[in-house]
Every structure is written in C-alpha cells, then in structure tokens.
Symmetry: C2
Subunit: 158 residues, 2 copies
Amino acid sequence: MESTPVTPEQEPLETVERCAGADPEHPRPDGRDRYTISEVAAHTGLSAHTLRWYERIGLMPHVDRSHTGQRRFTNRDLDWLSLVGKLRLTGMPVADMVRYAELVRQGEHTFEERQALLEQTRRDVLGRIAELQGTLAVLDYKIDFYADARRASERAWA
Amino acid sequence: MESTPVTPEQEPLETVERCAGADPEHPRPDGRDRYTISEVAAHTGLSAHTLRWYERIGLMPHVDRSHTGQRRFTNRDLDWLSLVGKLRLTGMPVADMVRYAELVRQGEHTFEERQALLEQTRRDVLGRIAELQGTLAVLDYKIDFYADARRASERAWA
DNA sequence: TATGACCCTGAAGTGCACTCCAAGCAAGCG
DNA sequence: CGCTTGCTTGGAGTGCACTTCAGGGTCATA
C-alpha cells in the first residue's frame, strides 16, 4: 500500500540529469517507477547503507517514502545515481558531488557554476590519465627487464 | 662527522631499480650520496613523516644512519623512492608496494613474482584509464548541455 | 497470526594513507 | 652558555568513504 501518489509535477531536476550515463549492462527492472532500497542497491552496486548515507549527506534529491516511511526510489533517482557513479569514477571527492547536487537543487541559474565544476573535473581526469600513462612507461620498462633477465637465466642453463 | 663509510659492496638491489623513473624535473643535488631526511623530503615531495613511516612499514630497503643515529639517504634510496612514487601514482595500495619491496629484498629468485605483480598493476592501470575515458564521455555530454543551454538563454534576451 | 526477510534510525567503528604530537637529543652560532 | 633549528621515537590523531551495530518497526506468505 503505497500512499503517496506519484506527483506529476516534481521539481525539474533538468532533463540533462536523465539522459547522461545510460547504463546498458544493468537494464532497468521493467516499467516500474518505485523501487525498494535493496532493488536500487542491486541495480547500482552500492550498498543499502551507502544509499542511506548518500541521502543523509545531501547527495540525493529527496527520496520518496511509502506510507510507513520506507524509501521508494524512482527512475529519476536511478538516473541521478548513475551520474553520481560516473562522477565517483572520475575520482571527484564526495564533498564536490554534494556541492554539485546543491547546485542542481538551486535551479537553472546555477548552470554556469555547474559547467565550471564539470570542466574542472574534466581537466583533473585528463591529468590523471596522463599520469597513469606515465606510469605505464615505467611498468613496461621493468616488466621487460624481468622478462629479459628470466630469459637470459634460462638460456644459461641450456 | 659521518661515521659509516660508504660500503662499496651493498646488497645488489638490482640495477633495474636504478634506471627506471629518471626524474628530470627534480635534478639530484650534485655529486653527493648522503642526504638528510629533509633534503630527501624536498627532493621527492614526500614529508619527512612519510619517509619515516615508509621505513617503519618496510617500504624502504634499510636506510643508513650517521654516528648520532640520524638517517642518511643515498642515491640508491632516491632511485627506490622514485620507483615507489610511480607505483603510488598507479594507485597500487601501500601493502602491495611493501610486498614488492619484500620480493626485492629476497633477491633474484623472485623475478617471476615481481614481474607478475607489475603485470597485474599494468592491467589495473589500463582498466582505470578506460574507466576515466568513459567518464570523459559523460562529462563532455553534460558540459555541452550546459554550454548550449546558456547560449540559448542568452539568445532569448537578444 | 506467526515467522522470517526486509527496512528504519543514530551512533560508533573500519581501513587506508598519512599527519601530528610530545619529549628529548644533537649541531651550529653569537 | 643559551638559543634555534633539525633530527629522533612511539603513539595518537585526521580525513575520507564507507560499514557495522544496536535496537527496533514492517511486509509477504504459509
């Protein structure tokens, strides 16, 4: 018995939060729009604990509740979590994601600041990729060294 | 007054630990071979605390001491730290670096395991780069969205 | 209606990689 | 000689991102 009917006019939360990060490997459980916390946990790979914690620290845009107070996540929440998952993969600290969530809550006049935040993140990601590629050079150098040394010592026994 | 003369025959520690990760941006302080902890901190960017901590957890191959018990790092230590720095950039956990350091201490018969460890690290780095590139797609998508939206709203005022 | 799986909360705990602290020794300088 | 600066130690503290706990309430099904 779910008391709260789906309010058709929720705050906008921008279509942009909807379409990015379509996730083909975890197909959304069919046509429903109200998921329990464990369903969302299974879908996102986050633990139920983590989902509650995200909500507490302001990283979720106000999750719906059933008449008895249990969380009921919507498809919009799933979309948001998919974006959060991507931002987490960038290495963005949680505090910055909370900041971004705040900006989204504040409406369209924060577009500029949101864009700036994502552009900074983009630069960080590019830098990190470059760093990692730098480590690959050293890794390859040393892997080759060990491979050569082992080949040489085998030849010595032949 | 440095008591311990530089023992010419130290344990091998393999030439490979010497040559990888030559660091052109922090030129080594000229021809010396005995550095204080703060010199090494300045050179590596690590704090003196961290250098002591590295030693305590077994991530350093036994650092030399002056007659009064102060640490005296050698060029070999600097080389090792430069490698450790690279491994740290890969995201390798400290525990794994300690494992690698143990293998180095144990001598040449651990070449195979060392190679395997670095190859696993290499795979991890490649995976991480792919992840990051995946996030770039989402970032670019959303940055474009905000840029377009802002351009559109500017046009609306014109 | 009873049972077992699921959900709720606030608070405390965990693991990682440092980072800082207190108390003390040692070297160089006026 | 005193002062400052730098080094030593063991142990405690920090920040982050969860994770677990204690002590309950709720839901579906037999």
